[in-house]
C-alpha cells in the first residue's frame, strides 16, 4: 500500500498528538524548564518589541526635521567621551547650534558654533571639537571647563570666519550644519536612506541564512 487512508492518518495523528502533549507537559513541568522559561520569554520579548516601539515612535518618514528632544539626540556623545583621550565621562553634549553675527558697520560676518554641555562630574573637563568649513578645511578646537565644583549646564562657543559645514565630536559622527542662519533653530539632516538600505540588506541576509539553515531539511 502506497498511500495512507484517511482513517489511518487520523488515528496516527491522534496518537502522535497525545504523545507529544504528554512529552510537552512533562517538559514544561520539569524544574529546569520552570526556571528557564520566564528568563527566555523576558529576554526574547524585551529587545525586539522595545526596538519596534522605538522605531515606530521615531517615524521612518521624512529627511529633514528639527530636533526637539535634544537630550536623546546627544545622549550618545556621553558614551563617546568615555573613549576619548580624557578617559572619563565628564559631560554630556546637550545641543549644538549655529548662528551668524554681522557687523553692520563693515558688513563682515562671523559664524559661531554654540555648544551646550551638562557637567556630570566634579572633575575638570575638556571637550574636543572639529569644525569643518565650507572651503574644505577643518579647525580643531578644544574647550576646558575650569570650574571644579558645580555640576550643571555650561554653554561655550567657537568663532570662525566662514560658515561651518559640520561640527564633529568623534571620528564618525558629524553634526551637519543645515542652518540657513535665518533663525537660530537647530536643524539636523537625517540620513534615512542608508538606514533603509542597510536594514534591508540585513533583513535579506537573515532571510537567506534562514533558508540555508532550512536547506538541511
Amino acid at each position: 500500500m502506497i498511500q495512507f487512508s484517511g482513517r489511518q492518518s487520523g488515528v496516527r495523528f491522534q496518537r502522535f498528538a497525545a504523545s507529544w502533549y504528554r512529552s510537552f507537559n512533562r517538559f514544561v513541568n520539569s524544574s529546569i524548564c520552570r526556571s528557564i522559561i520566564p528568563f527566555v520569554i523576558l529576554s526574547f520579548s524585551a529587545t525586539p518589541f522595545a526596538a519596534f516601539d522605538d522605531t515606530i515612535s521615531k517615524g521612518f518618514v521624512g529627511t529633514l526635521r528639527s530636533i526637539e528632544n535634544i537630550d536623546s539626540l546627544f545622549q550618545r556623545y556621553v558614551y563617546q567621551q568615555e573613549d576619548s583621550a580624557h578617559g572619563r565621562v565628564d559631560f554630556a553634549v546637550k545641543s549644538i547650534s549655529f548662528y551668524k553675527e554681522t557687523d553692520l558697520g563693515t558688513g563682515s560676518s562671523s559664524y559661531f558654533t554654540e555648544v551646550t554641555v551638562a557637567r556630570t562630574g566634579e572633575t575638570k573637563a575638556t571637550l574636543d571639537l572639529r569644525l569643518g568649513l565650507d572651503d574644505g578645511t577643518a579647525v580643531d578646537t578644544s574647550w576646558t571647563d575650569s570650574s571644579e565644583t558645580a555640576t550643571g549646564q555650561r554653554t561655550f562657543e567657537f568663532k570662525t570666519d566662514s560658515p561651518p559645514e559640520y561640527a564633529q565630536l568623534d571620528p564618525w559622527n558629524k553634526i551637519q550644519n543645515d542652518d540657513d542662519y535665518s533663525d537660530n533653530s537647530l536643524t539636523v539632516n537625517e540620513f534615512l536612506l542608508p538606514v533603509v538600505k542597510w536594514a534591508g540588506r540585513i533583513f535579506n541576509f537573515f532571510q537567506n541564512v534562514l533558508l540555508c539553515a532550512g536547506a538541511l531539511v
Partner: protein
C-alpha cells in the same frame, strides 16, 4: 528484475509534474514565505533600530550609501558590543525554531506533491505534524553524519581537498537523506524499512535521483546568478535604487522558496511513481 530496475518516470518528467503540483499548491509556499519574512523581521528590527541611532544623523551615512566603510563597521561593533552579545542567544533560538518549522513543513510539502488535487492548508499542517517525528529523526541522522564527516576530514586533508571532499560528501549525504525523507512520507511501512527503501532507491537509480537534485540546484543557481547580475547593475545610492533592491530581494527569496518546493515535489513524484511501478511488477511476477 531488469524491468523493475528501469524507471517509469524519469527525472525531467518528475520535475515537470513536481512544478505543476507546486504551482497548484502556491498558497502553501506563500505561507512558508510569510514565515520566513516574520522570522527575518524579528531578527532585523533590533538592528534597524541601532543602525538608525548610529548612522541616521552622521555623515558616515553618505559613505554607507555608496559603499561599505570598514572603519565605521569596527567602530559600530565595538560601541555596540553588548547589544551583539545580548542578541546572540535570541538569534540561535530563532534559528532553531525556524529549522523545526522547516521540518514541520517538509512533511506537508512531500504529501502535497503526492496528490493531484490542491491541498488545503489544514491538511498541510496535519500532514506536517504526522510526519514531523520521522523527518526529524532523518534530519538528525543527516546532521550527525555531516558532523562526523567534518570531524573525520577536518585534520587529515589540505584545505582545498578538504573543501572539495566536504562539498561532495555534503551533496551526497543531502541527496540520500532527501530521498529517505520522501520515502518516509510517500511509502507506508515501518520507519526503518522506509529508510532502507529510500536509500536503495537513490543508490539503484543514481542518474534520475541526481538528475532531479542537479536540476533543482541549477534552478537555484540561476536565480542566484540573476540576483547577483541585478545587484551589479542597480544603483543603490538613490531612493528608487534602494526600493528596487528591496523588491528584487523579495522576489529572489520567493523564487528560492519555490525552487525548494519544486525540490520536494520532484523527489516525491519520482519516488512515488516508480515505487508504484515496482510494486505492480512484483505483483505481476507473483501472479
Amino acid at each position: 528484475m531488469r524491468r523493475s530496475s528501469r524507471l517509469n518516470t524519469g527525472a525531467l518528467n518528475a520535475l515537470k509534474t513536481g512544478i505543476e503540483r507546486s504551482i497548484r499548491n502556491w498558497r502553501l509556499w506563500i505561507a512558508v514565505y510569510v514565515f520566513n519574512l516574520a522570522f527575518a523581521a524579528i531578527l532585523t528590527l533590533p538592528f534597524a533600530e541601532i543602525l538608525a541611532r548610529d548612522i541616521s544623523r552622521s555623515l558616515v551615512g553618505r559613505e554607507l550609501l555608496t559603499g561599505f566603510n570598514y572603519r565605521w563597521f569596527v567602530d559600530f561593533v565595538t560601541i555596540n558590543g553588548e547589544f551583539f552579545r545580548n542578541l546572540l542567544p535570541q538569534i540561535i533560538f530563532l534559528f532553531a525554531a525556524y529549522l523545526i518549522m522547516e521540518i514541520f513543513f517538509a512533511g506537508g510539502f512531500y504529501s502535497s506533491s503526492c496528490g493531484k488535487a490542491e491541498m488545503k492548508f489544514g491538511d498541510f499542517l496535519a500532514k506536517g505534524s504526522i510526519y514531523f517525528f520521522p523527518i526529524f529523526v532523518v534530519t538528525a541522522i543527516e546532521c550527525a553524519v555531516l558532523f562526523l564527516l567534518y570531524l573525520t576530514f577536518r585534520y587529515q586533508l589540505s584545505v582545498t581537498t578538504y573543501q572539495l571532499s566536504a562539498m561532495v560528501l555534503f551533496v551526497v549525504t543531502n541527496l540520500l537523506s532527501d530521498f529517505v525523507r520522501a520515502a518516509v512520507v510517500v511509502d507506508d511501512d515501518r520507519f526503518w524499512r522506509k529508510v532502507k527503501r529510500g536509500l536503495n532507491f537513490t543508490v539503484k537509480h543514481p542518474i534520475s535521483t541526481v538528475g532531479v537534485y542537479l536540476c533543482c540546484l541549477s534552478i537555484s543557481s540561476l536565480t542566484v546568478a540573476l540576483y547577483l547580475a541585478f545587484h551589479s547593475i542597480n544603483d543603490s545610492t538613490t531612493a528608487a535604487g534602494v526600493l528596487a533592491e528591496i523588491i528584487v530581494a523579495q522576489i529572489f527569496i520567493l523564487l528560492r522558496i519555490f525552487s525548494k518546493v519544486i525540490f520536494y515535489a520532484g523527489e516525491a513524484v519520482l519516488y512515488k511513481e516508480n515505487q508504484i511501478e515496482v510494486i505492480k511488477v512484483k505483483l505481476e511476477m507473483l501472479e
